[in-house]
Symmetry: C3
Subunit: 445 residues, 3 copies
């Protein structure tokens, strides 16, 4: 009995172990950036910080009895992963065996932590703390490798991370979810006289939804994400003119996406003509994802609006018709990240290939072209510039597609694999009746 | 029946129509700003963005059963109007048939959308979605014309938009409200055995107020508006010294206004000595409106404090004594925008005339004067400078008053007119019992 | 009766009196900073503004029936004290009998107001409005004197204000609390047939805690403080490289502190293995306080992580074991500011002495040293630099300790003294049953 209590008290002990490992690695391998590195152009760190820690956290408070976990675990996971990402991303960038840390690295770490929070959105209420911890560590490490491949090897353009962050995070999460599902069906007790099962399921159905208040706090997350998305998509721009172009495109895409989301929500919702809060909270943001990989390109203000309108269509229809189908297949996706990050991310990747292919070579090579469109800044993420790149526009388009495919493969593969590992007893998976419930993890008032 | 459902599902179809029109106009008439235009001084875009999308939205969540609409419609209206304003404002500024868009234009579009949100505050819970859509489009278009007249023709000083944004938005809203009221009395059923009427009115009275939780989320809106108001009033300043003067003045005016609001609220509230949340949520912000038109002038830190104290007086007494009188006349004003934006806006306009008249000519002409006061930056909104303007200080004062009068006339006139149009069946006005209720528009948990 | 009502209506009249005094002082003694002063390096004003007005306010909404007071009084106190601090801090810096005000002074006034809000946290629900007003005015004035001594006389390094703001504010508050406690025991009615007493105490115990909703709004305060703490600790840095170092250190310290807080919370909480929201809301922030006095030093990224881990230990154990002991002694500390600001502040002060003592003289004197650690920017708060200071590193360490001791002495002394004054009838102290209850001060729905 006493031992059981001690075990329970130490259930978060792996956190301490991992934190101590981080401590040692930081002591051995990191240093401050010098005065020269500090001058690198950077913007939007604080805004991105708000998106990660307020935006994602509050967006996930829509579940009525999972708000402590949504805000608490979001903070914990992000706090852990930003440290871990500093090491994983810096690993590819070491000088004399040291990783230099400045504001730019902090911003990149924040951005990488978004992948883990997107995955957390898919698994919201479905995974235990230990599972989340393991999944997060694997996801961020593989995510950094994937980003390295996209940016340094394929040299793709993906300034807003629609491929490397949103697509990756969403399909990693769906991979985990698919793997965890196997667990559920395998050892499930025979539902013979399944009164208890039915009852617990009923309760789950009740908990797996919002209250009036929790929807209002969730909107807070939505709106903060909406507000700062232009900063997210433009933070790593190399010049002021590129930065403002990325801001303008993101702003317009979000605006048109929002308008169309409202129209479509009333058109397809369960009660005819009424708006569905799930669409308003999530699909209004799909415009930010969809424009991500092309935000710094010459897609034109009109092009940005068109991109946003398409995003709303994909996202609202996905929530209404696709998510229920996936659930029938056993792939849970609590926040519907497939509709907010996944499909809009793929859409953005495809757009980036299209616009790269259509680019006039002048516009492509010297950024003078005002015509629609041009991939003026290839791989603006980490690379300073590749204007001297002899690639044809068609080649660039091909690389964009290859990077998208690589991302999907790596995300699903490593997601399923870590899900399979995480469903073992070692990671104390949740029972059906423990889902969507803060009671499991928190002292409640 | 089926047709009725289809009609209901398509009730937001006008949104899509308007969004497609916007798409076409953007394709034809807009482009990105070039590298030169991008260098124009600008600050406070993100801060203003938070005010528009979080501040206004959450301030309006004080109604207990209208929080989905407050946050949702705020997002929808603003997302629509920022696109529309980019076109309307850019129309006066076209080069070669094209409107150039940079961060500056986005900030100006955000600011213009505030007029529509102020009007939404007056009509909160009283107007249908279709009515709001129509009203918003008219309001923003006329608002851009009014701003053009004030800034380009009258060349007035109104850096914080107290005349062109706050006064305009408030009286446009009151005009609409007055017009909608006629509707109500006209076809109202004879209240003979008015049990139903009384009951529905009772219910409305119950819904037309806060809950404990909704007041706490409303304070979130208040405080974010309060925090970023200095950025709002200084975003378009031409120099750093002017920007910091505008920040200092706004900061001090808000601070003194807040202190006096608390004192007055306890003095006049219904329960002697207790504070009224309506005053705290709204009147504390009147200092930001009141200092708006003079924020960049040499009014002195002491002057800014005096301006804020006066604003609290106007606003709290307005809420306590004037709003109930207006309601008796049938002019509903749910958020009391007359007391937060309307009268403080007029007060600011009068102050701007006073300070222009009192300006020493040295201070007026060369911004050297440290004495109180001087209108150092005339029409800082859009004009770079008018230091070479041969106007006398008296003339400038006269123009400030003329612009205020023009604004009031245009706002009330176009407000009443669009209200009269919006009350026709075409715009599906609300019935009495549908007011202040999310049930009308949302799938509720 | 009528007179009583009038008295009640005028209970906030002292606010007006004090605001008029401020008005006069501002008219006589303040002016705008000139173009030269405006160029002084400054950052993080808006971020700090969010911390003061949203962060502190919402962190204090965890009490279920004190959210109006938490958000309202936080706004009132801060609005008052930022004006008062501009004068008190400027008093030491006058030129020609005038205080120049620019953005920098506003930031410093915001920072000083934090001391009062920390004290408000200790007294949350325990003090009347009049008491808070009096206490706040004294605290800010003495706080400015203390800061002057630390920075201008001792020339200590305390960029994040861990000594001058956090330690000072916490122990001033505990001093007041200890003094108010005497009051309670003195005139308490004999608990003979104390049914009423027991009942009222029971009710207090019920009010002295969170609801599910209030904990979710409190997390909003936590997270905004967490997000912007790097800006707070780096706002007054003299160079960009120093600023980024302060940001990196604060970011890492907060992150590691958060991870360890979760682990410890489950280990020591009342229900084995469950997380305690009090720890998550507060102890996760202790890393920001702990790194404050050394944030701009060469403590190394690993050093920052170690500092944060220690802060979590001090803070969580303090909440779990020390606060109940203090309460038994009669020292109430509603928000546990001793564990968030007090002990982590002392810890930071001790660290600043340690790192000063360990500094290599090269690193200390010319900021070239990349080795761990060096107090590169002494007294970065107000002084531009003291690189020419002939002090030895040991001397500097001694001054850090002396400043910490001075701060503790001044805080406790003036706190106890103003508590003793504030407990007289004149300041209408609360009765036991009025505690933690908005009913006292607000018209409730």
């Amino acid at each position: 009995m006493l031992e059981k209590i001690t075990m329970s008290r130490l259930r978060y002990a792996p956190l301490l172990v991992f934190q101590v490992i981080l401590l040692i690695l930081f002591f051995c391998f990191t240093t401050y950036a010098d005065a020269e590195e500090v001058k690198q152009r950077i913007s939007g760190f604080e805004d991105t910080h708000v998106m990660i820690f307020i935006g994602f956290a509050y967006l996930m408070t829509f579940l009525k009895k999972y708000c402590y976990s949504a805000t608490g675990y979001n903070l914990l996971l992000a706090a852990l992963i930003i440290q871990w990402s500093l090491l994983c991303q810096g690993f590819f960038d070491m000088k004399d065996g040291k990783i230099s840390i400045s504001l730019r690295q902090l911003l990149e770490a924040d951005i990488m932590s978004a992948t883990v929070l997107i995955t957390f959105g898919a698994l919201l209420g479905l995974a235990s703390g230990t599972q989340l911890l393991f999944i997060a560590i694997v996801e961020a490490a593989v995510g950094c490798v994937n980003l390295y491949i996209s940016e340094e090897i394929y040299k793709i353009s993906d300034i807003g991370g629609s491929i490397g962050i949103h697509t990756y995070g969403a399909y990693f999460g769906l991979g985990v979810s698919a793997a965890l599902r196997l667990k559920k069906s395998d050892p499930e007790p025979a539902p013979s006289n399944g009164v208890a099962t039915i009852q617990s399921q009923k309760e789950n159905i009740r908990l797996d939804g919002p209250s009036y208040t929790s929807d209002v706090t969730a909107m807070l997350g939505t709106i903060f994400l909406w507000i700062y998305w232009p900063s997210f998509n433009s933070g790593l721009a190399a010049t002021e003119v590129e930065r403002q172009r990325a801001i303008v495109n993101t702003y317009l895409s979000l605006a048109s996406c929002t308008v169309v989301t409202f129209m479509l929500s009333a058109a397809v919702s369960h009660k005819p003509g009424k708006l569905d809060m799930v669409h308003i909270q999530n699909s209004t943001l799909a415009g930010g994802v969809a424009v991500g990989a092309v935000a710094n390109m010459y897609i034109g203000p009109g092009g940005a609006i068109a991109v946003g309108m398409g995003a709303a269509l994909i996202s609202v229809l996905g929530y209404r018709y696709l998510t229920p189908q996936l659930e029938k297949l056993g792939v849970q996706d609590t926040c519907g990240v497939n509709n907010l990050h996944g499909m809009p991310g793929i859409y953005s990747g495809l757009l980036s290939a299209l616009f790269a292919a259509l680019a006039t070579s002048e516009a492509y090579h010297n950024e003078l072209g005002n015509v629609f469109p041009a991939t003026s800044s290839i791989a603006a993420g980490h690379l300073a510039s590749s204007t001297a790149d002899p690639r044809s526009t068609g080649m660039q388009a091909a690389y964009q597609l290859i990077a998208l495919a690589t991302t999907l493969g790596l995300a699903l593969g490593s997601g399923i694999l870590s899900g399979l590992i995480a469903k073992t007893k070692l990671f104390s998976p949740l029972e059906e009746k423990q889902r969507y419930d803060d009671e499991m993890n928190w002292e409640l008032p």
